[in-house]
Subunit: 331 residues, 2 copies
């Protein structure tokens, strides 16, 4: 199936198709243009190889993990593009999770001030969320996604078959964002996570999540209004993520923990039960001082106040101006 993102001249299609990787030339036509496939060591190497072989592209592989999402790797991708004499007729193709897509996308957004970018997300998290919306970025110091660009891909190709090779923890990690989208927009989607057999509905989960994300991004491409709702659970979640050593908690696990304090009394027990059902964490040995310090540096803070998102009823949300001090008390 194809979900179309309507963003004026930056519109593009999201294709969801089992086995798409093995016939990628049906979805990506570069004409005489060259392709650099950017992937990381955590992604089965045959995925990037399949794409590279079918599009006569080159492969750039960086070490997996958030720690690689930095200026050095960004620069290395740009150097590779330069070494291969890439021009504005050529393309960058990400094959990997969110880190890979964010970084390859930022390189594509800025190399020659922008060349074509295609995204082939291979994790649940990136398939349901991060691969669409056009937010590209790298980290700096301990602050995630602080340097980047809004840059839309030419196409996103989602092959659910690739999820088969993912570890269970990775899958659950990705589902946290879907739970978030269900909580704030789609009670039916949220309801799936309250069922024991939720994993049988993975394609429905991907599709419903993409449609929520599409709705929000189309309303607010540059994140000046509504789109901030997608930060639900992220203000505290990012701070938790920054307070622990890289990799100790996955992004989705931090979002799960970050959503709980932002729910109203009637929603919280349902969320906690759903998180338990999915196998996401519901509590953690918090380092409050580190979390507070990270909250104060969160890029979403404007001056000394922070725009946070609350969910007081499943399927709805409210924005709230608050402060790091008040937020830390909620945990």
């Amino acid at each position: 199936m194809t979900v179309s993102m309507n963003l004026g001249k930056d519109s593009y299609d999201i294709v969801i198709e089992r086995g798409a990787l093995g016939k990628i030339e049906d979805y990506i036509d570069l004409g005489k243009g060259k392709a650099l496939i950017v992937t990381d060591s955590g992604v089965p190497a045959e995925y990037a190889k399949t794409v590279a072989d079918r599009l006569s592209g080159s492969v750039f592989t960086f070490e997996q993990g958030e720690k690689s999402k930095n200026f050095d790797t960004y620069k290395a991708i740009c150097e590779k593009l330069l070494e291969l004499s890439f021009t504005r007729s050529d393309a960058v193709i990400a094959v990997g999770g969110g880190v890979c897509g964010d970084m390859a996308g930022f390189a594509a957004a800025t190399y020659m001030r922008g060349i074509a970018f295609y995204n082939i997300p291979t994790t649940v998290l990136s398939q349901v969320d991060s691969s669409i919306g056009g937010k590209t970025a790298i980290d700096l110091g301990k602050i995630k996604n602080i340097v980047g660009a809004f840059y839309q891909p030419k196409k996103v190709i989602i092959d659910p078959d690739v999820l088969a090779t993912l570890p269970e923890r990775q899958i659950k990690n990705g589902l946290a964002e879907s739970i978030k989208m269900g909580l704030c927009f789609d009670p039916e989607l949220f309801g799936l996570f309250e069922k024991a057999d939720y994993l049988d509905h993975i394609e429905k989960i991907i599709e419903a999540s993409l449609k929520v994300k599409r709705y929000v991004v189309e309303q607010d491409e540059k994140e000046i209004g509504l789109r901030k709702v997608l930060n639900f659970g992220h203000t505290i979640g990012h701070a938790i993520e920054a307070s622990v050593p890289f990799g100790e908690l996955y992004h989705g696990e931090c979002v799960a923990l970050g959503m709980i304090p932002m729910c109203g009394e009637s929603v919280r027990p349902r969320l906690v039960a759903a998180l338990k059902n999915v196998g996401l964490p519901i509590s953690f040995d918090y380092d409050r001082e580190k979390i507070y310090s990270a909250l104060c540096h969160d890029k979403k803070s404007v001056g000394k106040t922070v725009t946070a998102v609350r969910c007081n009823e499943v399927g709805s949300f409210v924005f709230e101006q608050t402060t790091p001090k008040k937020l830390i008390k909620l945990i």
Copy 2:
């Protein structure tokens, strides 16, 4: 006077005003927002200090010259913004020449995916040309401006008084771009450079050049068509610049040298005479092999052909598809 750039929601004003620096708060209103003034060691320090004092801003100074226009300095500016806890309510202000504006602009374009950017150009080159148009960038290896973004400033403030402290060679360097704009668009502007007293007309030169640049940028903000005319003299010019040690030739000197072979028979003698009059070079001990190699890497090349601009009559231009091989023969 004020020249307005009409670019839809990215529109902005260019203010040309003697003494503007000393009353900068009349032109830049940040509300409660913070300001980082980015300057370099070649700019009289009092310029940045004046702006910082009047806007309660901080100053970031990097070492002058093209060699600083790299990932390291770009990263250092981002780190400074992070250290000062800059948010989307704050602003970056460049006080310097093209290198400074390009790099500060790229940092502003990408820090938090874009915060406000103001440009206060202090060289002829940046006042007549590079400060407007929204092209920000850094260099990589020997290739200039290969990584960057299209990002419009909130305002450009030009204070012609600051030119008084510039060395003569710097002034002439900047005028090459004005000569280019006169050649391709404005015979009257070009005619000024054929007069012995051309320097008495500096404000007229700035204004006329800005208006040509404005016309071209408004027609083609993202450089997909007409804007390539501004590359007149630059395809060969950039290659010459890449072929010599950093700083041996100034950018404008390379553009001057790069324009000569791209003129028709009737125009070339007039251009050479004007360049002589202004004191710009008309010949050089070329290293053809290095120039050829740089031409092949020029970011404007599409596959194996290059879009070059020719001037066969003063005030006009034509686009021409050519190859590095043909270009090198013209020198």
